[in-house]
Subunit: 222 residues, 2 copies
Amino acid sequence: MRLALLGGTGDIGQGLALRWGYNTDRELLIGSRDPEKARNKAEEYTTELESRGVEADIKGFENAMAADRADVVICSVPAYHLVETIEAVADRLDDDTVLVTPAVGMKRDDGGLHYNRPGAGSVTALAADAAPDSVALVGAFHNLPAGRLADLDATFEWDTVIVGDDEDAKEIVATLAEDIDGLRALDGGGLGNAAEVEAVTPLLINLAMNNEGLHDLGVRFQ
Amino acid sequence: MRLALLGGTGDIGQGLALRWGYNTDRELLIGSRDPEKARNKAEEYTTELESRGVEADIKGFENAMAADRADVVICSVPAYHLVETIEAVADRLDDDTVLVTPAVGMKRDDGGLHYNRPGAGSVTALAADAAPDSVALVGAFHNLPAGRLADLDATFEWDTVIVGDDEDAKEIVATLAEDIDGLRALDGGGLGNAAEVEAVTPLLINLAMNNEGLHDLGVRFQ
């Protein structure tokens, strides 16, 4: 199974790429609007994994090319780039491609970060609206702190909540999530339940801001 | 320090009363609109704690009487009774009373439960608007599952996020929270950060609905 990480040069994309490279032998396609940047990052991840004795299969491509070749496409771009990124690759997605979004919309005020709920109901729903109808859209990986995820020396016990209306696609994404050591996939229900999942992300940042000694928080439901 | 639990005959109020009765020697005032019901519940809690060898100081009163006598008043009533409950006791609150709300507004659709954000920004903010200006309002205990909280055989490792604009009042509530074995208090920042805390509650219920073997979930940030 080939995984594409569109925007895979950025924070959450880097974390997922390194973890999947470290914990699995899956073929990883790093996507970027700039193919040169994608190739450089792919090489950087490969080198880091090699330094830990792991031989990973990571290549860099322009986003559309990465999406074209992948079975699962993770749009690891900021919320404000999500729709344009999906639209730019839409005609490269097969009917059995699984499209995944971890994006969360946030706004900041003096007190902290806040969930910026879009009119569509959630950022995940926005992505579903932008994707071709034939493609299964899954929300996942919303609440993972990029820094600790990308630090292969860091261990954790986190949950990621999977939401979507296609059960088979959710199952595929849950399996990918649990390939990462320390990550448990929980079923959050349908796409209509995405807002409450996304809203955890600003809360995690507010908690890190307000509590000494807590940084880069994830969440565990227990 | 005297604690009043308005609506202390209901689910979350029962859980908090039993835990504080079990873990502390604080004086607990169970409030209800019906003083007879409050007295019966206070006796029921006392009997349950006695059966575990704990002698607790729990009495029942009509809500306003309980609020009048307490240093910390926890409004453990459903969101749709919150404002009227606060208004009914407002003239009994001293300037140094700390008022606490764990209430969360939720609505249900076919897919699950959803956070029902009020125009005020959060249910905690609604409570702050209803309370006298001189009284410190703190949001806490939003994300605790009542069933496991009230089951003294159950153990847990949960967080409760404390939000409010009065740091001294928050500190008092954080101490009360950490009096309960297994409960950690985290600082969520000001009242303006309450919505993201409240929104975790419907998520916890959706996760319990969609994942076999998970019931009565709390949350841990780590």
